[in-house]
């Protein structure tokens, strides 16, 4: 009998008697509900705090007899924006609350690529959000396109809010461009937004898989259609943005029609546990980035 046959038989024997917990499904549902409740409890506290802060700001502004409130964005987070028009000026006031204690939050796996790669980073931002840009899905998407993808002057093509905590923002690299990159964001009412996926129809990536564990060199494969057939590939660790990478190379796909690409990208030893493999193409016109597909990955130990 070969080693392979002995191994097959031994593994089958080893687990043949393993029976599963009859209440396993119920346990899964209970845990799903518990994590959702933990999240909702956190949302409720933050919402209440934001409402208080917004009320204070509104009362203060109402006392200004030369001011007329034209829009108050409903408080659903710990940062609100109120726009005031007077006869001579328009003023935007950002109201932020940071002093409310939050209950211990469930630390779920965080899939964000940018700007937040962990729940801790998102929490830190919530505590000190500055102008609060990342509480806005569209602003987050456009800043991702600029900072992470390197698009020169991205514009929003469409924005879709999903029922739970997600949003899809389709961006174009500049107003005149027909090429689109679809960004998936997670965030919702209880926290700031972060991008967890970017895809373009012209670069379909089969390898590496979403959230797979990679080591150097990482094997990449997929199909593409790009100017001069060139797809640029970069391996980035968390914290790196456009112009920074652990390793970069190019692969050749299709130039006039969709064709497969494959290659191995060597990269330096990462200092972070996770990052992304970024596939992008350049403009034939001016060499700027036109579209990208970004795959979230973890690094092997």
């Amino acid at each position: 009998m070969t080693v392979e046959e002995r191994l097959r038989r031994a593994m089958d024997d080893e687990v043949a008697s393993v029976e599963t917990d009859p209440a396993a499904w119920q346990r899964v549902q209970a845990e799903v509900a518990r994590r959702r409740r933990a999240r909702m409890a956190r949302v409720s506290l933050l919402t209440a705090a934001a409402l208080v802060a917004a009320s204070v700001a509104t009362v203060a502004l109402a006392t200004r007899d030369d001011a007329r409130q034209v829009e108050t964005i409903p408080a659903g987070r710990d940062s609100t924006t109120t726009t005031i028009e007077s006869s001579t000026t328009t003023t935007t006031i950002e109201t932020t609350t940071t002093s409310v204690a939050t209950p211990p939050a469930e630390r779920e796996p965080y899939e964000g690529i940018w700007p937040f790669t962990s729940q801790a980073e998102a929490d830190a931002y919530e505590a000190d959000p500055g102008v609060g840009m990342f509480f806005d899905a569209e602003a987050t998407a456009l800043e991702f396109a600029r900072t992470y993808l390197g698009m020169p002057d991205p514009v929003r093509d469409s924005l879709t809010r999903h029922e739970d905590e997600g949003a899809t923002v389709v961006v174009r690299p500049k107003a005149a461009s027909p090429v689109k990159t679809r960004l998936e964001l997670v965030g919702g009412p209880d926290g700031p937004w972060t991008v967890w996926s970017a895809t373009t129809e012209h670069i379909q990536v089969d390898e590496p898989g979403f959230e797979s564990v990679i080591g150097s060199p990482v094997h990449v494969a997929g199909t593409s259609l790009a100017f001069e057939a060139v797809v640029r590939v970069e391996v980035r660790e968390d914290g790196q943005a456009f112009g920074q990478s652990l390793g970069a190379s190019t692969v050749m796909g299709g130039g006039t029609e969709v064709a497969p690409f494959r290659g191995d990208i060597a990269f330096d030893t990462p200092t972070k546990r996770a990052g992304a493999v970024v596939f992008f193409t350049d403009s034939a016109e001016d060499g700027s980035i036109v579209e990208a597909t970004v795959v979230r990955v973890a690094f092997a130990d």
Binding site: R6, D12, E14, V15, W25, Q26, G209, S212, H219
Partner: protein
């Protein structure tokens, strides 16, 4: 507190819960057995697999291609098992905790010497070799499927399988 909805009810429903319930029915047992092979005890294996299903259900909308969900689950179980093993290593180093293994308890009583020797040898292999062998020879996955689950190339799978089998043969031969 345990939720009261049954798996049958969930499968008969609609939406994400029904999709996850159908996957649970199809995959749960084999994933627990896979995790048991990797971890050596059923309790930890069930925890890892249940956690994978919790994450799947909470993140269902992010699964663009539901037909790839089983592959995602396998990857999640492998990642969970790796975490468990690393956690155990740390505990062992600092607390000298001994983890009960399925082969040392009731299963051990019914296991043959041959299978215990093979499984014991399997557990001495490096993590990746052990995973590749379990995925390929227990779940009967193809090299491509194994590669997807492990997050490595098909070439790496071949290497891990080849080296793993060679190491097993060597260990078993030495014991004779």
């Amino acid at each position: 507190m345990i939720a009261s909805v049954t798996l049958d009810d969930a499968v008969a429903g609609d939406g994400a819960v029904a999709e996850v319930a159908a996957l649970f029915r199809a995959e749960y047992r084999s994933l627990v057995r896979l995790a048991t092979l990797l971890l050596g005890d059923r309790g930890s294996a069930e925890e890892v697999v249940q956690d994978a299903f919790v994450k799947l259900q909470l993140g269902w909308r992010r699964i663009r291609e539901p037909e790839k969900a089983p592959a995602w689950l396998r990857s999640a179980v492998l990642n969970g098992a790796r975490s468990q093993l690393r956690h155990r290593d740390v505990r062992r180093r600092h607390l000298e905790v001994v983890v009960d293994r399925v082969d040392s308890a009731e299963a051990g009583a019914i296991a043959s010497d041959e299978h215990r020797r093979v499984i014991a040898a399997l557990r001495t292999l490096p993590e990746r070799q052990r995973e590749a062998l379990a995925l390929k020879f227990y779940l009967d996955l193809s090299e491509a499927e194994t590669a997807t689950a492990m997050g490595v190339s098909a070439g790496s799978v071949k290497t891990h399988v080849h080296r793993g089998l060679a190491a097993l043969a060597s260990i078993l031969e030495e014991e004779r």
